[in-house]
């Protein structure tokens, strides 16, 4: 995927966010982003938003079972990081993974059909919402145990370095996972061996129903690598341009052999932890205020229109196009048959080819 081009049109309002002062220094140095690129980020974020809304609907209709964790509100994080990366990079995350897959370029049909447990899903219906993968797109899951993806991602980084393929692993985790012991085991090895990995902490303020303040002795999560000499940075995770710029810096650091980097994305999920979340731990007003003032998609839309990069009609066309893709995905996910019963016994072992 292309990095932000320096020859693009002038970007305005990119730093239009709650943390304007914090992003000032980065704003001076950051590469300019073309209108075309802004539109592409908008499109990618909107795709995730609409996809997740549809997933929520299908869940309500009983078509999606089990756990289903929506990414609504956090779209700028994964879209910005993906755009900052290269096709050699690998991506791994936890169970709130639909957005990561769509950003990687995985087919919305295959993702949605996995949610409904059908044979057209990425895991043939055997993984579900939390466990999807695409070797083709270098997406390594989709892992259901909080924190477990972080040693795995560190291992992917080990693989990058061992094979000298120039890739960096984007290892995502939430603010809840960041208190897990295995995170620090990973930080230690990654720093010790200078592995090419960027740890992306998606701080959406709540680990399930427990706020960061109630779970973490030090809430400055970007400082969590300090004991292992890993530099960290806070990022406005509601601003795709800030993510793009700081993500690019962190990836450059890791790619150049300097070792791991930590990005703390200050973000917010609008929906519950999973679909069965009573939402007693925060007020409706808090959610409304975030949606109104900090929505990454609304803000980017505003920037695009204000900067004259597009017009209402063109934006509407994008909305329509996304809607039709998501509708098609939902249809496919309902029409694709359930896996054949013989699939119960496949994929337990790789057949040895001696």
């Amino acid at each position: 995927m292309a990095r932000a081009s320096k020859s693009g049109a002038k970007s305005t309002g990119a730093a239009k966010s709650a943390s304007r002062s914090k992003t000032k220094t980065a704003a001076k140095k950051k590469p300019e982003v073309s209108g075309e690129q802004l539109l592409s980020y908008y499109r990618d974020m909107l795709m995730i938003r609409r996809f997740e809304e549809k997933a929520g609907q299908l869940y309500g209709m009983g078509l999606i079972g089990g756990f289903c964790h929506l990414y609504i509100g956090q779209e700028a994080v994964v879209v910005g990081m993906t755009q900052a990366g290269t096709s050699d990079d690998t991506v791994i995350t936890s169970y709130r993974d639909h957005g990561h897959m769509l950003a990687c370029g995985m087919d919305p049909k295959g993702v949605m059909a996995e949610l409904t447990g059908r044979r057209g899903g990425y895991s043939k219906g055997k993984g579900g919402s939390m466990h999807m993968f695409s070797r083709e797109k270098n997406f390594f899951g989709g892992h259901g145990i909080v924190g477990a993806q972080v040693p795995l991602g560190t291992g992917l980084a080990f693989g990058h370095r061992y094979s000298e393929d120039g890739g960096v692993c984007h290892a995502y985790m939430g603010d809840g996972a960041v208190n897990q012991g295995q995170i620090y085991e990973s930080f230690n090895m990654a720093s010790l061996w200078k592995l090419p990995v960027v740890y992306v902490i998606e701080n959406n303020k709540y680990g399930m129903g427990t706020s960061v303040e109630r779970a973490s002795s030090n809430v400055e999560l970007h400082e969590r690598g300090a004991a292992h000499d890993i530099p960290g940075m806070q990022v406005n995770g509601m601003d795709v341009i800030d993510v793009l710029n700081k993500g690019g810096k962190a990836l450059d650091h890791a790619r150049s052999g300097k070792g791991p980097y930590i990005l703390e994305m200050k973000t917010y999920r609008y929906r519950g932890h999973s679909m069965s979340d009573p939402a007693k731990y925060r007020s409706k007003e808090e959610v409304q205020k975030m949606r109104k003032e900090s929505d990454p998609i609304d803000n980017l839309r505003h920037t695009i229109l204000e900067g004259g990069h597009s017009n209402e009609d063109e934006m509407k066309d994008i909305d329509k196009e996304i809607k039709s893709i998501v509708t098609a995905a939902a249809e496919f996910a309902q029409q694709s048959p359930e896996p054949d019963e013989s699939e119960l016994f496949t994929d337990v072992y790789v057949e040895a080819s001696a």
């Binding site: 791994i92 560190t154 693989g159 496949t346």
Partner: protein, 457 residues
Amino acid sequence: MATQVLMPALSPTMTEGKISKWMKAEGDTVESGDVLCEIETDKATMEVEAVDEGTLGKILVPEGTENVAVNAPIAVLVEEGESPDDIADAPAPAKAEATPAEEAPKEEPKADAAPAAPKSAPAPEPEYDGPMKTQTVREALRDAMAEEMRREEKVFLMGEEVAEYQGAYKISQGLLDEFGAKRVIDTPITEQGFAGLGVGAAFHGLKPIVEFMTFNFAMQAIDQIINSAAKTLYMSGGQMGCPIVFRGPNGAAARVAAQHSQCYASWYANCPGLKVVAPWSASDAKGLLKSAIRDPNPVIFLENEILYGQSFDLPDSDDFTLPIGKAKVERQGADVTIVAYSIAVGIAMEAAEKLAEEGIDAEVINLRTIRPMDTETIIQSVKKTNRLVSVGEGWPTCGIGSEVSAVAMEQAFDYLDAPPARVAGVDVPMPYAANLEKLALPKAPTVIEAVKSVCYA
């Protein structure tokens, strides 16, 4: 009064060693804490410190002597005015120096080592008729890794002390020198972290060998082994293979008590997605480890510390492998089938020899692989002998023996002339005290008793 200095045991399983160098000469004054000599075993070199003071009256075992038994007198310390010959009248000192490790019981020298190396076994593999050589299990494991690392660049070894220290149990001796630090990697003592890192590297396409210093410590990593390594292939609809070997000593060593003496065979064997291998002989160790490294699936490779130093004949070939999932009939017999794995195979063989003297002809099956289990070989044997005894060190409840019994009853019920019997580790955490530890582990007499019970003899 003259004091004997005895050959110390430097580890719980050491039975003999080499005196590589004397640091004191006869006539030197010795103070408590002075280094007397250097001792070398196949695992390590260590200095022996004096416990008592005096003058080194006489060196009884010159430097360079190999195979000096633990507790053999190696020198005499004398006090002023004494002669080393006075030792003849002195009472033998009670304890060895350096470590409080086990005192080799006089009545049963090498009690743990003896049963496992019968002259008759293992026979060469039927398909192999090339030259043979004799090696310890330790050497066989090292050669297996070295050969596979030469064969494929993607194979690497990581774990605690595998590189510069040459392996906590010296399994990786020489590998760092040959393959360098990129492929032989010392890790921090963080099992969950490096096990997960290994799994991630396997997802990326590498072929890691992850050594656990012992499988007791792998409990810290068991989430990564089961949830990440074993299940991801299935959860990904076949996309995400995980070619990795987790290996290290499993089960009881000697005198290391409950937290260091557990057999995990049934834990891992319970999980689809894993293969579980438990070798006994050097031939098993080499042939199966090579196959495990080549296998595209996660393999749990359960070694046994007591077996590391035992020697066996094995094929002298770099191409020798053994199939995972195939048991071996170590001894043919007509009266009863004894199914065993790992160190218990040696115990079963010892029991079979003694039973033969009493006219009971036992067939001994070495499972070699726990999962997938070679039920066909078990069933064929049971159909012939009509009687079944399983032997393993793990706990009895939901153990490997339970599985073997269930298989026999499901698939050969009408052939059984007696209910199958299980010989297992006693259902308690492993005690430290020498006598209690001995009671907790399967021994040949227990196996003989179980065989007689199913034979109604």
